[in-house]
């Protein structure tokens, strides 16, 4: 058991409230929206990209090259949450056929992917009996989990598990900031972003060196991304110290956060529209007299406001020009305060624990969320603005599409007949193929150097 199951547990409980409805015989056209076990069976039978998931999890160890590690896949933990609330951990598979038939047979409501262990996790007890404590995670993608419920204090349109197109862009911002840093700063290449099916996004960093990071190294990356230092009882949740920002923060700020806050969020969330909301921001100003001056202006303005400019924008400009004004130069931290406000509202909020430990489980892409019925599709970070969570294909929609075209037997790829086709094609071409190419190269070069070594040994 590991901390990773916090998320699972939450999701498991959501399953509880989901009474399976079993319509006896229904016309294909009036398939009800939502989620049930029968739909899921059909989904796993005809749509779920089993072989792509298999190839991904093999990381090139598919037995085709003499340098392959035949035990690799079998050491990976899968875990299933079944419809009758049974939770199966430490499942492992040795072949594509085994994996696929197990998924089809068990029809899990949720599939989680765990680490690759030192030994086959299903046989861990046998190893435990040998006395050596050899059961330990040895490889795991570097993962990130961003959940919009963690933004509840800065979004006013929805709360909890709800999302809408006004708050979803916060996720887009998170993807941009983290994705850029993972690539430019840390030099990772094989990164998969996926919709969590309901209220957030998951990130899988799959480069060989990412998979082999120690917990300490994972924690250091998570901390590199962390700017929140406050707690529930302190007003300021972001604390930026030092006369300038670290290049990573500065770049995130000028490239993403500032424009998003000023150009979008200020208006979409009406951040300065009411007293209740603007007080939150005034609380973040370190100097009480400056805050009072703005408060006075804004209260006055409410009475006589007739301008056609947006009130949020007008107030924000006032705040900025006051905080930057020359007469207040002597007050420490005022300018920095503008950045701090923007960071508090927009900077990605990661679930740190998920990223810090190798043995955390994370829901597999292409699962179906049992509450929303939506598929956990990949998100292209380069076009993440275009991603619309409310337009993600649902289970019932997919099956309907499949049934509609059911008569056309000439189509051999079931997948292409559904709106999931595009998502799977993206997964293959932008993520899987480049990944497998570099896996093969790595296996090849490791094999060659081993060969070289043994030759040298012989000549000795």
């Amino acid at each position: 058991m590991n901390p990773g199951e916090a998320e699972n547990c939450r999701e498991d409980m959501e399953i509880d409230g989901n009474g399976p409805e079993m319509p006896a015989q229904r016309h294909v056209d009036i398939m009800p929206d939502g989620f049930n076990a029968n739909y899921l069976k059909a989904y796993y039978g005809k749509v779920f990209p089993h072989s792509d998931i298999f190839k991904w999890m093999c990381y090139g160890h598919d037995g085709k090259h003499p340098g392959c590690d035949p035990t690799y896949l079998s050491r990976r933990e899968f875990s299933f949450t079944l419809d009758n609330d049974i939770y199966l951990r430490f499942q492992s598979y040795t072949s594509a056929y085994e994996l696929e038939s197990s998924i089809k047979e068990k029809c899990p409501f949720k599939i989680d992917i765990g680490p690759v262990y030192s030994v086959n996790p299903a046989k861990r007890h046998a190893y435990a009996q040998t006395g050596d404590n050899v059961f330990t995670p040895v490889e795991r993608e570097l993962i990130f989990d961003i959940d919009i419920t963690d933004y509840d204090d800065v979004r006013f349109c929805c709360s909890g598990a709800d999302i809408c197109l006004d708050c979803w862009p916060l996720m887009t911002v998170a993807i941009k900031v983290i994705d850029t840093a993972l690539r430019d700063d840390f030099g990772f290449i094989h990164i998969l972003w996926a919709y969590s099916g309901r209220r957030g996004v998951h990130c899988w960093v799959c480069d060989a060196k990412a998979r082999r990071l120690s917990n300490e190294q994972r924690a250091s990356i998570a901390d590199y991304f962390r700017v929140y230092k406050g707690n529930e009882n302190s007003n300021k949740k972001v604390s930026l110290v030092g006369p300038v920002l670290h290049p990573f923060l500065a770049r995130s700020y000028t490239d993403v956060l500032r424009d998003f806050f000023e150009g979008k969020m200020l208006l979409s969330q009406n951040i300065l529209s009411t007293e209740e909301k603007y007080e939150k921001i005034l609380d973040m100003i370190p100097d009480e007299s400056v805050a009072a001056e703005l408060r006075g202006k804004w209260q006055e303005m409410r009475k006589a406001y007739g301008s056609k400019d947006d009130i949020n924008v007008v107030r924000w400009e006032q705040l900025k020009s006051l905080l930057c004004s020359a007469k207040l130069k002597h007050i420490q931290g005022l300018r920095r305060c503008i950045e701090e406000i923007i960071f508090s509202f927009t900077y990605p909020r990661l679930d740190m624990e998920v990223s810090k430990h190798m043995n955390h489980l994370l829901k597999a892409p292409f699962c179906v969320h049992p509450k929303t019925g939506r598929v956990c599709v990949p998100i292209d970070p380069n076009n993440c603005e275009e991603f619309d969570p409310t337009a993600v294909p649902t289970l019932s929609q997919l099956l309907q599409e499949l049934n509609m075209s059911g008569s056309r037997a000439d189509m051999d790829d079931e997948l292409d007949r559904t709106s999931l086709g595009r998502a799977v094609r993206y997964f293959r071409s932008s993520f899987l193929q480049p990944l497998l190419r570099s896996c093969k190269e790595e296996i090849e070069s490791a094999y060659n150097s081993r060969l070289q070594q043994s030759k040298n040994n012989l000549s000795w």
């Binding site: 058991m1 590991n2 901390p3 199951e5 916090a6 547990c9 939450r10 498991d12 609330d85 049974i86 939770y87 951990r89 430019d184 700063d185 840390f186 030099g187 990772f188 060196k209 990071l213 300490e216 190294q217 924690a219 250091s220 990356i221 901390d223 590199y224 529930e232 110290v241 030092g242 006369p243 300038v244 920002l245 670290h246 290049p247 990573f248 923060l249 500065a250 624990e353 043995n359």
Partner: protein
């Protein structure tokens, strides 16, 4: 890391540096008397470092502390003798601390801390010499490349309130994985997987290498201990080391939370030696019934968290018991949540703190409950039986019961502590976790006492024979 020491198997210190890397034990002859005395002195230094850390001392304070500790405990009239004492004491403790995971962990982190601050106290030349000794595979960034990153590097320096680098500043380009602490605090510029490490930050780099080397060496020492030393030295050293291990319980648990950790397999042992009665009782009931009701789970669960059981181990611990009664699946479904909740991982994510005596005493256990304070909630008969099992003799027993009758439960608990440990507890017991910490302190000081009063025997030990365990050395031998 594989480059460590591949060139020189027997490494002799560079004259310029007074900080050894402890690659291999020097072929020195050590009197058994010194063998112990040196180790005790070094242990004092390590323990004080551990205390300093648990009190939250800042890096600058730690640096001063280490400097003073070293002067006080490790100085010898002659420089060469001081060097020998340093190396000898390190290898002796390596032997004592190689034997369990917990001991290794504690020793590793304290020795690394000591090394870190001693490294910072070295002159720049000595530091460079040490880096050369470590065979770090990193090159200083050349001028052209430095130009290309100069702005960013200066920006980082300013962001952490450091003067910008001068024109001739030396930077090392290293994979970011090698300097996790600098990455975590955003104290380096990172580009395409490489961190640009300033000369005054190389301590992180050196420390990472040192730590990883020592970590491997400890495992090898352990192997060598079990495979040969234990047997070869069965008449001289083994009794000493074994004796130490029975009277010494492990890492310093005076850090109540976060920093200290205990592992699953130690709980049983610790429950007997250092749990207060309330927790011992819950623990025993859990083992017996494989179940505890909510109040008991909270009281014991938070206590264990305070003692240093991490979330993963806590889940494993509770699951191991509960699954015998309700099955693992039901445990995962119904109880795991509760345990994560205690660790602040679920629901509101607040961190729950372990209960104080006051809270435990004022609780109201109902039918089927085992939580609460035995001094208050047990019948006299049951209390006597429980105290008897803890090893309280007849004389102490009556004093304790007397206090209980007068409703001085915490005083009764304090007397119990004193009776069980054979030492005073002046502060009194206010918190179950304090009981635990104080108990551990007593048991540890008994160890130190033991070490220092041990009679000096006129035996000569060839230190190198027993503790020469260099990873690189092994690799090398295999190749031939």
């Amino acid at each position: 890391m594989q480059s460590l020491g591949t060139r020189r198997v027997y490494h002799q210190n560079d004259a310029v540096s007074t900080l050894p890397l402890y690659r291999s034990a020097p072929p020195l002859e050590v009197r058994l008397e010194d063998f112990e005395a040196f180790a005790v002195d070094r242990l004092r230094v390590l323990k004080a470092i551990s205390d300093g850390l648990s009190r939250g001392k800042k890096p600058e304070e730690m640096e001063k502390l280490v400097e003073e500790l070293w002067k006080t405990h490790m100085k010898q009239p002659k420089l060469s003798e001081a060097g020998n004492k340093d190396v000898i004491s390190h290898f002796v403790l390596r032997l004592v601390y190689c034997r369990t995971e917990d001991l290794r962990k504690w020793f590793l982190s304290m020795e690394t801390m000591l090394f870190r601050y001693r490294f910072k106290l070295q002159s720049p030349e000595a530091q460079r010499a040490l880096m050369a000794d470590l065979d770090l595979p990193y090159k200083a960034v050349n001028t052209a490349e430095f130009e290309s990153v100069k702005d960013k590097v200066s920006q980082v320096a300013r962001s952490i309130v450091q003067p910008p680098p001068t024109e001739d500043a030396k930077f090392y380009k290293v994979p970011f994985e090698e300097v996790p602490e600098l990455v975590a605090s955003r104290r380096v510029y990172i580009h395409q997987g490489n961190a640009y490490v300033a000369m005054n930050q190389v301590v992180s780099l050196v420390v990472t290498q040192f730590r990883s080397f020592l970590s491997k060496a400890l495992i090898l020492t352990n192997r060598k201990w079990t495979s040969s030393i234990k047997e070869q030295e069965k008449d001289r050293l083994t009794p000493i080391v074994e004796e130490l291990s029975t009277s010494y319980l492990g890492p310093d648990y005076s850090q109540p939370r976060e920093s200290a950790e205990i592992s699953l397999k130690d709980i049983d042992h610790l429950a007997k030696s250092s749990f207060p009665l309330c927790m011992r009782h819950l623990y025993e009931k859990l083992k017996e019934d494989h179940h505890l009701k909510h109040g008991g789970r909270m009281q014991l669960g938070l206590f264990l968290k305070g003692v240093g059981l991490n979330l993963d181990d806590a889940l494993a611990f509770w699951r191991a018991e509960f699954s015998q009664k309700v099955g693992a699946e039901r445990f995962d479904k119904e109880y795991a949540y509760n345990i994560r909740h205690n660790y602040g991982r679920e629901g509101k994510r607040t961190d729950y703190t372990p209960f104080s005596c006051q809270k435990v005493i004022s609780s109201t256990p109902g039918v089927g409950d085992h939580h609460g304070c035995p001094f208050r909630h047990f019948s006299e008969e049951n209390l006597r039986a429980a105290l008897g099992r803890m090893g309280v003799g007849n004389r102490g027993m009556d004093d304790i019961i007397d206090k209980v009758r007068n409703r001085h439960y915490q005083v009764a608990c304090t007397l119990t502590f004193e009776a069980v440990h054979g030492s005073t507890c002046d502060a009194g017991i206010n918190h179950p976790n304090q009981y635990f910490i104080d108990s551990q302190k007593v048991l540890q000081s008994k160890l130190l006492e033991y070490m220092s009063i041990k009679d000096a025997e006129e035996t000569i030990i060839l230190l190198a024979n027993i503790s020469n365990c260099e990873p690189a050395h092994h690799v090398k031998q295999k190749n031939f």
